[in-house]
């Protein structure tokens, strides 16, 4: 790094300067103009958890309705609205954004840099996500609630069979969240490929960053597909009378399904891959050894990413496709069990050869392994066409995907919370409460969803608002409802734990778990600039290497938001780069775009408004300005 050394400034003055350059503006306008990745990441996480609570409440309502045969808690219209909201909220407003948010927060810390590559795009993405969520729930308050399911198959979701504006709101909400996901994906890819600490070649990158890299590429390929389905096909058919999915005019309802699932299946892995990264990070830290089989893990992550684009048709086996195609998609669907299997085996090897501490985070990871492996097994069953034809659209499938999504994403997420909470807040979560919450969640989860496998095989179809008593599904549904309330209780304990620890938790030092990756190298919580000196890396686990081997970058200017750009493969320092500072323009641009997008649901002319407002926003955003070179 000698080329970078120009002059040395005394430490304290350096810190003050960084503090001043990276500060967030005060006041309301300041709050709207934040562009630091930590703040935005936290906002994503908090917002997503609020949506998780809403989605959870909707789930409880559904479980109440299904608790007994011929129940009348909800009528058919309400029930359809509630399950649509539940699916939409969980998929689009919770699962993807929370993973993106944690990525936004952690990736720059793990890479040893100061912010994401495009801070303003990052802020813009968050505001778009928030606007999408507000659109869905604001419309819900005005009783404009979509009721065609989170998948919205036409013709049911089309202009003839879904009157009103509910489905339009749904389709436009997708646009918002997908724009947001694309923003995060773009900036994370560039951050990961070009802003790693010097010496952190790709093969020294933390597993979590690998998972976010693969996930981000998947987002970029998958999300446009759903926008084609929801906006181009569905919204245009509904608002301006096009015929993309109208068979009478040469459209095709199956085309929508193909395009939707071309997004919909990778979507599951978009949610799941970051969780894999979290599990690796938790296990390697708490087993006190590097994750076993790093190259195999990376390859299987990449493999997951590719294969997941080749098996969307297993959502459509019942539509009747040619047999040869079906055989291909069966094989592809099972192939993903190989790459997922390799990951499980490597984790087992990590745990076997490491020295495991059974912390709360590790509890959640073991819960994940139990639940996810079972979900994987039912997934292999569903990949088989004959079994799929029986189980498809029954509660067996409901059980399956809750096993893979709650098991595969929510449990690791809770684990990740216990693991990284000290880094986020500077305080420790209570371990004992965490373990209690784990057991209640684990038992409640299995109580809720295991019986669904059985009622599914005994003929209970999905998305029915009631069922006759003679079918005998009542007792198991009652069990599931009891389990659902246990999950709610577990969630409440978790929230109580967080609230309590935020105020009274023991203060955490910079590396409470003795982790090996760079996020533990800085204070808890980190300063806005992350690192006073950017670290230099010579190892996969820099904090586990002897202290004298750890280097720092010197020579970056501290009087502006400067970061180091390194090469893609080997992370050799290339040049210094000034990141833009705080700005309210991303917020204003998002506001203008949101107005236009929401208005266009009601009248086409709002597209012009959106264009004009968006233009104004972008002009402000990119208006050339003096470089930030003011001395404190």
């Amino acid at each position: 790094m000698s080329t970078l050394i120009t002059e040395r400034i005394p430490e304290a003055a350096e810190q003050d300067q960084l503090e001043w350059v990276w500060r967030n503006q005060r006041g309301i306008a300041g709050w709207f103009s934040v562009t630091t990745h930590q703040q935005i990441g936290k906002r994503y996480i908090v917002t997503a958890f609020i949506f998780l609570l809403l989605g959870g409440l909707e789930a409880l309502l559904m479980r109440l309705q299904l608790a007994a045969p011929d129940n009348t808690v909800l009528g058919p219209a309400r029930y359809n609205q509630i399950f649509t909201l539940h699916g939409t909220t969980m998929m689009f407003l919770f699962a993807v954004p929370v993973m993106e948010g944690i990525g936004v927060y952690l990736v720059p810390l793990m890479l040893g840099t100061r912010n994401v590559a495009f801070p303003r795009l990052n802020a813009f993405g968050y505001w778009m996500y928030l606007a999408g969520g507000l659109l869905l729930y604001g419309a819900a308050l005005a009783n404009t609630i979509p009721d065609a399911g989170w998948f919205a198959y036409p013709p049911l979701s089309g202009p003839q069979f879904s009157p009103g504006k509910g489905v339009d709101v749904w389709a436009q909400m997708i646009t918002f969240t997908e724009i947001s996901a694309m923003c995060v994906a773009t900036e994370l890819i560039v951050t990961i490929l070009r802003m790693r600490a010097p010496g952190m070649s790709l093969n020294r990158m933390p597993m979590y960053c690998w998972s976010m890299l693969v996930q981000s590429f998947m987002v970029i390929f998958a999300m446009p597909a759903v926008m084609v389905a929801s906006t181009v096909f569905l919204l245009n058919d509904r608002t301006i009378g096009t015929h993309f999915v109208n068979p009478a005019e040469g459209g095709d309802p199956l085309l929508y399904q193909h395009v939707f699932w071309f997004f919909g299946h990778p979507e599951v892995y978009i949610i799941f891959l970051p969780a894999l990264g979290m599990v690796s990070a938790i296990l390697e830290t708490h087993s006190r050894r590097g994750v076993f089989g790093y190259p195999a893990m990376v390859l299987s992550l990449v493999g997951n990413g590719f294969i997941s684009f080749g098996l969307w048709v297993h959502h459509m086996f019942a539509t009747g496709l040619p047999q040869i195609g079906e055989a291909y998609f069966t094989a592809a669907s099972m192939m993903i069990a190989v790459t997922s299997g390799i990951q499980i085996f490597c984790w087992l090897a990590t745990v076997w050869s490491g020295r495991l501490r059974t912390t709360a985070a590790v509890h959640f990871v073991f819960g994940f392994i139990f639940i996810f492996v079972m979900g994987g097994m039912t997934g292999v069953m569903l990949a088989s066409i004959p079994l799929n034809l029986q189980a498809h659209d029954t509660f067996f499938v409901v059980a399956h995907f809750h096993y893979v999504l709650i098991g595969g994403a929510l449990f690791p997420l809770f684990g990740a919370f216990h693991h990284w909470f000290p880094k986020l807040t500077g305080r420790m979560l209570d371990e004992k409460l965490g373990k209690i919450a784990f057991w209640i969640l684990f038992v409640g989860f299995n109580l809720t969803f295991f019986p669904m496998h059985i009622v599914g095989l005994y003929g209970m179809t999905r998305r029915i608002y009631t069922y006759p008593a003679e079918m005998g599904w009542g007792p198991m549904n009652l069990l599931a409802t009891v389990g659902a309330f246990m999950i709610a209780a577990g969630g409440a304990i978790f929230i109580a734990n967080v609230m309590r620890s935020l105020r009274r938790g023991p203060v955490a030092d910079s590396d409470p778990w003795e982790g090996g990756t760079l996020e533990w190298a800085t204070s808890s919580p980190p300063a806005n600039y992350n690192f006073a000196h950017l670290p230099v890396v010579a190892d996969r686990y820099p904090l586990w290497s002897p202290k004298e081997d750890r280097g720092i970058v010197v020579g970056l200017r501290n009087d502006r938001r400067e970061v180091l750009v390194t090469t893609t493969l080997d992370a050799d320092p290339q040049h210094r780069f000034v990141l833009p500072g705080a700005s309210i323009w991303p917020f204003l641009t998002a506001l203008g775009a949101s107005l236009g997008l929401v208005g266009s649901v009601f009248s086409f002319s709002w597209y012009y408004v959106a264009t004009v407002l968006g233009m104004i926003g972008l002009i402000g955003w990119f208006w050339p300005r003096e470089p930030l070179e003011v001395e404190p």
């Binding site: 009103g164 504006k165 009601f602």
Partner: protein, 171 residues
């Protein structure tokens, strides 16, 4: 601030009307007006196409959509085609022989009219009559656009082919 609050309330109310689903329609709470039908095209004052009184399915998306279905199911298309008229008069027009008030339309459907319009009263329930009224009104843009479907899943007619052009003699 107050205006925003009031605006939000109005928006919510409008949305409520639009999105409401009466799956268990009660008997109509409106007294059906007496026969206000006329036998002549002459009418006092200006053109009268505004909704003067509320009616149960006003601005309701579900009712309009059901009305559209019933329009086909009860073979209204047999005489009126898809609103353009055939052996029966067009339903997309400016001048209504028997008045364009919802109550007039209701009366027309329930009691029938000379020259072929049958009386549907006693055959179909009142709530369906109101759904048909809402649909026929939506054909004439008398219902809010946000509550009206832009198209059905059927083969579409060219709207220019069915709209009467100025100067065309009435059928």
């Amino acid at each position: 601030m107050r205006f925003i609050a009031i605006g939000c309330c109005l928006l919510a109310l409008a949305a409520c009307t639009r999105e409401r689903r009466d799956l268990r329609p009660a008997p109509a709470d409106l007294v059906v007006l007496g026969d206000v039908g006329r036998q002549s095209e002459l009418q006092p004052g200006g053109r009268n196409t505004q909704a003067a009184v509320g009616y149960p399915t006003q601005g309701n998306a579900y009712a309009i959509s059901e009305g559209q279905r019933l329009f086909g199911w009860y073979n209204c298309t047999g005489c009126h085609a898809h609103g353009g008229g055939a052996i029966g008069p067009p339903l997309i027009k400016d001048e209504w022989i028997y008045g364009a008030e919802p109550a007039n339309l209701f009366d027309t459907i329930v009691k029938g009219r000379p020259n072929g319009m049958p009386a549907w009263g006693g055959k179909i329930p009142e709530y369906q009559v109101w759904q048909l009224v809402a649909y026929v009104r939506s054909l004439n843009n008398l219902e809010p656009k946000s509550a009206t479907p832009v198209r059905s899943d059927e083969i579409q007619q060219d709207p220019h082919a069915i709209l009467p052009k100025p100067g065309d003699s009435p059928k």
